[in-house]
Symmetry: C2
Subunit: 445 residues, 2 copies
């Protein structure tokens, strides 16, 4: 409700009123509002934001909106906004901000923070290393819980606050190797005279820095983690990952599932300028156009049949559509299975057989229905039978390609959520038109 | 890797080996494995599981797999598995388990746990109340942090462990009204002589029990929460929500985005029996069939044109396909916007104009391309021009309906992710065929 009100205020140009409401909002909510208004309105709101929060807003906004804000900000204001950010966030922004601004931010940093930034930048963004921060509080295993608490009180006096999402302390040995975790819940509820080594948890093991973000997210989900240590090949602690980043990874996956089948990227700005959007989306139309012309060429081979009996031209799109719809169902199941690591070599054959079974049942049932409908409409029983047979053929083709296409794309490293649909429809269109028209040519006309 | 190996072992019938590997896995991973093998194999694995973990496995499995396991378990074994579960999880299972089993479980419970169960059952599953547990540790605001720690140590001695995901204690007044939160990170790092009231956080406010799960998930994401209190209309504390449940909500949303456009439910079992799957999926084919016959009827109105010039039959599917693809792009953008509360009354007009702009640019460009292709192919310039014009009309229709259909569906409470695609394609097919065939009839033939 409040977001919708704000949106209207901003679009209608009541910026003063909007500013008061924005001041009470969390940076993530402000980013949400900015994303949902056209680019011109965004900048006027952005310029009015408190520099304290504007760094966070920048981070929460999606990539394209962020790029716009960065492009249209004064360099010194941008540097001020970024100075407030955590190192891991700064590392993410490194390549998106003009080099001169980044240099200014880095120059103003303490040497140790500068080193941290370099470490974090070394890992790809979609790995455990790219998602970790350096905010882990580490303790040694040979001290008592009482000593740990005294250490935390000292930290608190010298810093302002403990890092956000500190639910456990991380136990390391003298060489900095990860040994285990000490949950704060244990620290506050166990006898203060016990040693860390006698109470620490040795599970989960450290997460390798090169583990894919998607896999880390599943680990967090399965083990209900809030934070987890990241280690290098020798078991040395590199940093920690927190659940908020995992929530973002899963949310991005959800966005990807919605947008990829339409050939869109999940970082896309809803209000991206018309020309840029048109170009990117036009490419996708072009890909489909190739498939559509292939199907048209198939139809063209049977021009004589269509001329002789116009009913085949009327019925042929139905054969193609039914195949596309049935194939999309198999495709969706397999894509979800792949995303959850539940489909692979071990069970692909079982799944294929089951999908073929489902398609066979449905194709026989619907073939009967459409045969009766076609026979009634055109009073031509051979045509109706051939129509029904083509539907059976295309639904079986659909099950086969809806199951195998995503598996093959995944094996060769192409995103099945994006490319699967267009390939599938190309197959079901071509097979649908070809089978119906060929059967009609040989048996009816 | 290990999951794939397990899958193969189970499907090939090497159950002893599989059992040893399963024993080392987390219940969520075991549920993953069960979901990814055919139903017959599932039961033999399930029967071998330790009763200690089998309750958790039951919870982690998706709804259909769970139903199968419940159906094929001996009642006493099922009751034993459920006796180990948390109250909020038990409440979720209440209606899925045979009444006799549930009665046995409830009879064996302490009276207070039985009351808790009744409270939790009163809230719908997809609201804050339905997601909360009763594991909040509450403290009063007038005591010192040292007293709180003594209380926690006493709790630990009398119970076995503090509840999972306890990152904060919840501060309530004498009437049980929610006052604020005391993070464990503050408890361990601040002066033990300070009182709770002097250090507690008053934000975030308590979450109303009837807030939709989706909204709660967004709150957790925006504020980076690990746990949050749930309150009734008078501000009385009812329970707490933890981030693990929010991760599940977001993950379900992601699954929904993949499966809903294919008319599938996110709880669907990949290996559901063929007949049941065929029935549910057949209904979706039937819905599309109605739309396909509508389009065929439109084509039928122009039978004479097709007979006279077979090229229109060859080109017409291209017009329909291009509209469908372009419309799907607008649809995907709006569906994501709706899911994130970023599209609504305030900006719908701006979005529509932008989508129309993108479509206009693309339609003009691609209309030129296809016109040249068609003119070359058929040597018929008037036909090529009419073909191009129909593509422009259908792409503009696509932008219009791709934007407005999901907005209207959302307004009347129908899931746009599920119904949007089929409605859109019905519109772009009908308009595509009708505009091209009508134009060809009047200007070319």
């Amino acid at each position: 409700m409040i977001l919708e009100k704000l949106r209207t205020l901003i679009i209608d140009g009541h910026l003063d009123e909007a500013r008061q409401m924005l001041a009470a909002l969390h940076p993530a909510a402000i980013a949400d509002v900015l994303e949902s208004v056209p680019p011109e309105s965004r900048i006027s709101v952005w310029r009015q934001l408190d520099p304290e929060t504007s760094g966070e807003v920048l981070l929460e906004a999606n990539e394209e909106v962020r790029a716009q804000l960065i492009r249209e900000s004064a360099p010194d204001r941008l540097a001020a906004a970024m100075a407030k950010l955590d190192m891991d966030k700064l590392a993410d922004l490194y390549d998106e901000v003009p080099a001169t601004v980044m240099d200014a931010v880095v120059q103003a940093m303490h040497i140790q923070r500068r080193r941290t930034l370099e470490t974090l930048r070394a890992f790809p963004e979609d790995t455990a290393g790219g998602l970790m921060d350096q905010d882990a509080i580490t303790v040694r295993s040979d001290v008592t819980l009482e000593v740990v608490q005294r250490y935390l009180r000292w930290l608190r006096r010298t810093q302002k606050k403990l890092p956000a999402l500190t639910d456990t302390l991380i136990v390391v040995d003298l060489q900095g190797r990860y040994e285990g975790r000490l949950p704060l819940a244990d620290l506050v509820s166990l006898d203060p005279q016990r040693t860390v080594s006698s109470v620490m948890e040795r599970k989960p093991e450290g997460i390798p820095a090169d583990m894919a973000a998607r896999r880390v997210a599943r680990l967090f989900q399965d083990l209900d983690l809030v934070s987890a240590p990241v280690v290098d090949a020798d078991g040395k602690l590199l940093g920690r990952i927190t659940v908020d980043d995992m929530v973002d990874v899963i949310r991005d996956e959800a966005d990807h599932s919605v947008l990829a089948p339409a050939g869109l990227h999940e970082k896309v700005d809803m209000f991206a300028p018309v020309m840029g959007s048109a170009m990117r989306r036009g490419i996708w139309l072009g890909v489909h156009l190739v498939a559509a012309f292939a199907a048209a060429w198939v139809i063209g081979q049977f021009g004589a049949t269509i001329e002789e009996m116009v009913a085949v031209a009327i019925l042929m799109p139905i054969v193609a559509t039914m195949g596309g719809v049935a194939g999309t169902q198999s495709l969706a199941l397999v894509i979800r299975g792949l995303a959850q690591d539940q489909v692979g070599r071990g069970n692909a054959r079982q799944l294929l057989l089951k999908e073929l079974g489902v398609s066979l049942v449905n194709s026989v049932f619907w073939a009967l229905v459409v045969a009766i409908a076609a026979a009634t409409w055109f009073g031509n029983v051979p045509l109706a039978l051939v129509f029904a047979l083509a539907i059976v053929i295309n639904l079986l083709t659909a099950a086969l390609s809806g199951t195998l296409i995503p598996l093959m794309l995944d094996r060769v490293g192409i995103d099945p959520a994006m490319a699967g649909g267009v390939l599938l429809v190309a197959v079901t269109d071509v097979v649908g038109f070809a089978s119906f028209l060929a059967l009609a040519t040989f048996f009816v006309v």
